[in-house]
Symmetry: C2
Subunit: 307 residues, 2 copies
């Protein structure tokens, strides 16, 4: 089982290279990540976009060895997206990386019925960070969904959970502990997020959701802190030990995830799950480390889940 982000990176380095298709390759951040992954033997890049701009950017990055990069010229952005997505669908690349295109455009391409990577499942962002849990050493914890669905309903939450559980399985965690977060750990009649949490917990108990242990509603403190869970007297396999934090809204997930970066300086990576292949949507403000780790995570998911 992979328990730290360094282990994730080492695993990615030690396995055979995969190919990352980049939609809109003339993007400094995406190219930087491809160059890093290429140098480390993690991945090759297959770049779709304006070839002269891409070549210029590679020169600016002082890339000498370009043996791990293939450039496919596409002057039109929508065609670049289409061809990048298609290259993954046809197996010429294994994961898709957003370059200089809008996230909404890229996801439309991913969901295209003709050339896309649709599976019928909801797409969702899985944010993975390394949290120095006080008692038990570092621990990988996920937050979802801070990137795709604004206010998921019950059915959408089931897909969001399934997507994160797949990431946990790829990391070798066969029975991840899933906390359905709210502001409180009790069911409150006029707080809908606590109702969904109770319902989904029951579905897990009845065997309707497999491959994980679920409990909720939980507040963040009693989800991740064994002491807070003990003080509140919550008797649960998940409380204090949660590995997947499912938030009720995109705002809550997005803020909680960014809080681990901006207030706690924790390392992170993230991946969009639910398509036929991992999709990476790095933010411009993500560090180079986060982008490289995201490629490593996408590679692991491809090898463990998709194949």
């Amino acid at each position: 089982m992979i328990e730290t982000l360094n282990q994730l990176l080492d695993t990615a380095k030690n396995n055979q290279r995969i190919t990352v298709a980049v939609a809109g390759g003339d993007d400094e951040a995406a190219l930087g990540a491809i160059v890093d992954a290429g140098k480390m033997g993690i991945a090759n890049g297959l770049l779709f976009g304006d070839s002269s701009t891409m070549e210029k950017r590679l020169q600016e990055l002082n890339v000498v060895d370009t043996s791990y990069i293939k450039i496919k010229h596409e002057s039109d952005l929508n065609t670049a997206i289409k061809r990048a997505v298609e290259s993954v669908r046809l197996g010429n690349a294994q994961i898709l990386l957003k370059g200089k295109v809008k996230t909404s455009q890229l996801l439309r391409g991913v969901l295209d019925a003709e050339f896309g990577l649709r599976t019928g499942h909801l797409l969702s962002d899985v944010f993975l960070f390394e949290y120095p849990a006080r008692a038990s050493g570092n621990k990988l914890v996920m937050i979802t969904d801070g990137g795709v669905t604004l206010c998921p309903d019950l059915n959408q939450k089931l897909d969001i959970i399934q997507n994160a559980v797949q990431v946990a399985h790829a990391l070798g965690n066969d029975l991840p502990k899933v906390a359905l977060l709210s502001a409180v750990e009790t069911v409150v009649p006029n707080l809908p997020s606590t109702h969904d949490a109770a319902i989904i917990t029951k579905m897990n108990e009845r065997g309707q959701i497999k491959g994980c242990v679920i409990d909720g509603p939980l507040a963040l403190d009693n989800a991740v802190s064994p002491e807070a869970a003990r003080i509140k007297g919550i008797d649960s396999e998940v409380a204090g030990q949660a590995e997947i934090l499912v938030c009720p809204t995109i705002e809550a997930a997005n803020m909680l995830a960014k809080g681990t970066t901006y207030f706690a300086n924790l390392r992170l990576c993230h991946v969009i799950m639910g398509a036929a292949a991992p999709v990476l949507i790095p933010s411009r403000a993500d560090t180079a480390d986060a982008k490289l780790l995201s490629i490593a995570l996408g590679k692991l998911i491809y090898q463990k889940v998709v194949v």
Copy 2:
């Protein structure tokens, strides 16, 4: 201007003692905070509840000098709440602290038309933490409302902002920077939190909300990180510099606030604003430090805002 939590504590120590009324005084956590505040010369305690249990607990805490504690025997919990609230209303105490009573019961007492501390404004929780901003030293930042209103509407958000701005003013920050948080920094047609943010920003521009500078929607990264704001090209007085983070739902605020504690180990305190006096609702999982700082914050607010 008070810029760190240590300065807050020093200020509270150097000013004349106030009296804290405790509803349900036989609570270990509340008593511990009163004893700490008493020893440091910050406050006296006026405890309402079962006298024999309270005396026993004080013995357990090895309190020798009880000169700063007054006990008022009330065997009935609702009467204890009523009398504690009333003592603040009558000026015998200046702030109200929750002891061994339910938060909902206490707030019902605070809002009681006959003996309560109603002002006509919404009650809201203001969470204050100290954030080691990279460039400019430590900084006090607030998160609101993670404690009272489940999903505030536009009018309720105005009260929530006003309550937090009062705390900033008490700290000597005359023009706090307020960020209206969402998952993104753009107005998204089907994401209502971004609409409210745009509307409230305009109200501030037009002078309808005074005493602060407001901008939104902002995502957490571009609200608190100057670099993230720069990368996203957001030209705003608030972006990257926010001092008050207003969240769209109770879940988002609660998780973001608890994340600063459980993921970043940052010091904190919090206070319920909007009543005629500061109301303190410490969580059982709060540290002794957080409880003491909350009393110090309540004292400052009483002295700067209420008087």
